[in-house]
Symmetry: C2
Subunit: 376 residues, 2 copies
């Protein structure tokens, strides 16, 4: 079996091939975890929202749009005034073509999404990590445990599980988690904009470490997450542990943030070989301002990165072409969901692109009906 | 293919056979819906709790025990002082032997269960139905719609879906829904005790109709549910509609209450033939104080009832033998989950019983460790 031409492999090609073979055989399921960290309201950290405070609403709006076709909590269209759409657009289109079971998991969204979703009982918004008190240790531990149990409940035995995420500020907290656990991540995580605020992320992290009194590097995952982490990555790590106990393969659908999940799993001594892969976008792996390849090589070189080759450079809409200029890059499991579409359904990217354009057109029409010109 | 000897068929045997054949082929999934109706605090209506007010906690405690092996919200063991256990014990044992994906759905529990669960955004505790104002019409409609969407999200295409429930007071609200929709249900619904308070249920219903001003019979499902229904049955009906759109078979895992779901579905003109069955217990179909066979014959004769033949008359624990004296009978999808175990895994009832005894023994030991004598 060869690797489909619509995906790019970064890292061990043989490992990727074996993962793909197994992944194609399993019963598929997709989950999209959402949470907030108040780190995202630090000016300059995140552009995943109309304003720093607005980023707190983004995860709920993203999954509302994903499920219902439009945000429900706020009467907005899920794109910027320039017409740059949420990556959930790509996820929604790919998911609809995949036609597999999926769910949304709230690990600590600032607002409850107005669509059916799984709630973790200990869900909680993370505090700004520069305080050094992002979460209570008990909460970090409970989120891990509840997510592990969730996986034992919902993952089919021998499943092929796609796990995506939406958490503005997440690359900053992911960087902090990796650094605290002893991996060099400063300057290597991605960003939703073309200008990656590496210096600011570093300052926020260092301030958090100072205020927490945490001695780093540490192997105490829960203390690290409690100091400078967030509710999302620890939840996804717990979920992966539970899913692996169901003999499943897991495609971590995200960019450099998923390396924080790998870092947590490695600290727990979890065997990842041929069981876990990262599924992401070409925009992430080619990003000159971040280094997902280097992160994976340092943390878990046995984990392959499988990126969709999707290129929107010839899209008929300027908003979609912005993806080729370094905007967004990844989010809400977009890359991994498209990778799954290629692996499980063999859908060609040209067919996917047509569906993306139709969906984008639909959003523009909703915007026009609301008197919003998305391209103003 | 013959019908396994561990199940009893009530109704059309040919239809049951065809349903079973299809059900065995699908990808399995189980869901347990929980909700509360304040109807359960009317003295005498429900014994599914230590006191009338205590019944409001039962659904959450049931699913906490189902998932985590013990109630989490309260430090209790899930049985009465006489040692009569929750039917969730049967569900838990069967589910563990089934090893299929499952989830808990909160449609309006009085307390949030401390295990991972799906939340419907419009979840709400139902008011006492004797007020005639059980729910807002918009809420009834939203719960239906959200559950339909949930099914479209989580049900695999060609799935075999088991849907159970826990709602104290539910036979009263189910009776009221069926009556309001024009089916004769007074005197026919079941009860968790051997003395079925038919007269009281009837009075509560009639008071509710009077106070609502609803002209009955009506074909307006949402108005009926809003007047004298509850959050659970309308949610399950919405879920069934969504699951059918995913080309699935649905085993309604419950007793006479599930006839209210059938009544709602019939009013919506949903085709049920060979797609929906009721899965329940021998205790329900043999109950002299209720008439599930008559209800199904009136409402949807094309729907077969498949009951597990499980008999606990020779159990070594008096608390379990109480099931043979008309206590509990059904709940938390016990019967249907055991039916699924028989159909999907071919597990013999003797093997199941051993596992039930082990689990019961485990609960007694927890009780003893807590200084609770469950048989005092």
């Amino acid at each position: 079996m060869s690797i489909p031409r619509d995906v790019l492999i970064v890292g061990d090609e043989k490992a990727a091939q074996r993962f793909i073979e197994e992944f194609r055989r399993g019963i598929p399921l997709a989950l999209y975890f959402i949470a907030s960290t108040k780190t995202s309201i630090i000016p300059g950290i995140s552009i995943a929202g109309p304003s720093p405070e607005g980023t707190l609403y983004t995860p709920a709006l993203d999954v509302e749009y994903l499920v219902a076709g439009r945000p429900l909590t706020l009467n907005v269209i899920p794109m910027t005034p320039e017409g740059l759409p949420t990556p959930a657009l790509l996820t929604r289109v790919a998911l609809s073509m995949l036609s597999i079971p999926y769910m949304v998991v709230d690990a600590g969204s600032y607002i409850e999404p107005r669509i059916p979703h799984v709630d973790l009982p200990s869900r909680r918004v993370g505090e700004r990590i520069d305080t050094g008190k992002a979460l209570l240790v008990e909460v970090a531990r409970a989120l891990f445990e509840e997510s592990r149990i969730l996986a034992e409940m919902v993952v089919p035995s021998g499943g092929s599980v796609i796990v995506g995420e939406s958490i503005p500020g997440g690359t900053t907290t992911a960087m902090a988690i990796m650094e605290a656990l002893g991996f060099r991540a400063i300057g290597k995580v991605s960003s939703a904009g073309p200008n990656n605020p590496h210096e600011l992320k570093k300052r926020v992290f260092e301030e958090g470490i100072k205020n927490s009194g945490l001695a780093i590097p540490t192997s105490n995952v829960f203390e690290a997450v409690a100091a400078i982490g967030d509710p999302l990555h620890i939840s996804i790590a717990g979920f992966v542990v539970g899913a692996l106990s169901r003999n499943s393969r897991i495609l971590l659908a995200g960019g450099t943030q998923m390396c924080a999940v790998l870092a947590i799993l490695k600290k727990f001594g979890i065997e990842l070989r041929e069981r876990v892969a990262i599924g992401t976008t070409r925009w992430t792996v080619k990003d000159p301002s971040s280094d997902i390849e280097g992160l994976v090589r340092d943390i878990a070189p046995e984990v392959p990165i499988i990126a969709t080759a999707l290129n929107l450079g010839d899209a008929p809409f300027p908003g979609l072409r912005m993806y080729e200029q370094g905007f967004v890059k990844e989010g809400v499991g977009a890359g991994g969901t498209i990778v799954a579409l290629t692996l499980l359904r063999g859908v060609e990217l040209d067919e996917l692109k047509k569906a993306i354009y139709n969906e984008y057109q639909r959003l523009l029409q909703i915007g026009a009906a609301k008197g919003i010109d998305a391209r103003s």
